[in-house]
Subunit: 171 residues, 2 copies
DNA sequence: TATTTTGAAAACTGTTACATATTTCAAAAA
DNA sequence: TTTTTGAAATATGTAACAGTTTTCAAAATA
């Protein structure tokens, strides 16, 4: 009459769901539910990151060379609401690894420190420069000997737009 | 005695939460809860892209300088399932804009063309090189005069791991 | 009259609870 | 030996709940 019955190991095993893991309910705004489900189910953009010091077979997800997984958005954008992109022109910052046409990730929420690479407009001219400050004197310095540094005076109409956090160079 | 009381428009208005919208519980794997909450709260990784040729006030979303909006994942990763990341070591590809420590986006689904920058292992040694093919002869060429090109022979144990599509340089 | 304090009302939020739904495996049947 | 079956155990979507937060007019105060 009875089949199966109480016994060790009976029933659906733990972690047999699609995630192989426990779940917990989280409140999501209704308009974003679909987007979030796609995000979670596909884990689309969390891609493997491999270490490059390799001598033998490489790279396979089973390897020790796997450093983890990475999402470019999360890795490169700290605060989405304060971040924008600019395309760089010219080679005045070649020494900082910024090439003509590169995409710059600019964060407006972090304050420029001495030595930061910044987007600044001076007297209506926009540029990417290294921000140096000494003795109260602010200088915007290109990273290419063919260009001249700019020293900011009080009557200059200067404004910092943000700090460049990453450079994306397409091949 | 009683204050407030039942009346039209009493109480907290609808949509007064941080999302300005109704929420609903969705089951999320515990290990991804944090990632999902960040994803939902930050809302958008589709960030504004500005043109850099600018003379006056810049940049504001209302400006004409806005080229559009960009999602780094979508922009840099054509096929998530065939993409991985590698961290570059050394300066052998400095001429291609690849610096020590840069993050390389590698696509395994596109075939290397003549001139592509590729990740290749030759006799167990992994490297980033430019792939050149002429008269059936394959060469892996560094972009730094201090390094020697590698010509592939038939008895070399060589394998192409993928084509480098982008370089991410952090400042 | 003008300003401040108060508290009921209504929505928000994280979590628990629950009613299916699925999955598994050994016993029963073929 | 193979197929069928059903109790057991977990998964899943959502309602419900208890506690929190916010709002606004009435009450109290100046």
């Amino acid at each position: 009459m009875s089949r199966g019955g109480k016994r060790e190991g009976a029933g659906r095993p733990k972690g047999a769901g699609p995630y192989g893991e426990e779940t917990k309910p989280v409140r999501i705004p209704v308009s974003q539910v679909d987007r979030v489900l796609r995000f979670v189910r596909n884990r689309e953009y969390a891609l493997p990151l491999f270490a490059c010091r390799v001598s033998a077979g490489f790279p396979s997800p089973a390897d020790d060379y796997l450093e983890g997984s990475l999402d470019l958005n999360e890795h490169l954008v700290r605060e989405p609401a304060a971040t924008f992109f600019v395309r760089a022109r010219g080679d005045s910052m070649i020494g900082a690894g910024i090439h003509d046409g590169d995409l710059l990730v600019v964060d407006r929420s972090t304050k420029a420190k001495n030595g930061s690479v910044v987007i600044a407009s001076v007297n209506g001219e926009l540029s990417v420069k290294r921000y140096l400050c000494s003795n109260g004197q602010v200088r915007l310095v290109p990273e290419n000997p063919a260009y001249q540094p700019i020293s900011l005076n009080e009557d200059d109409d200067a404004r910092l737009w943000g700090v460049v956090t990453s450079v994306v160079h397409r091949l």
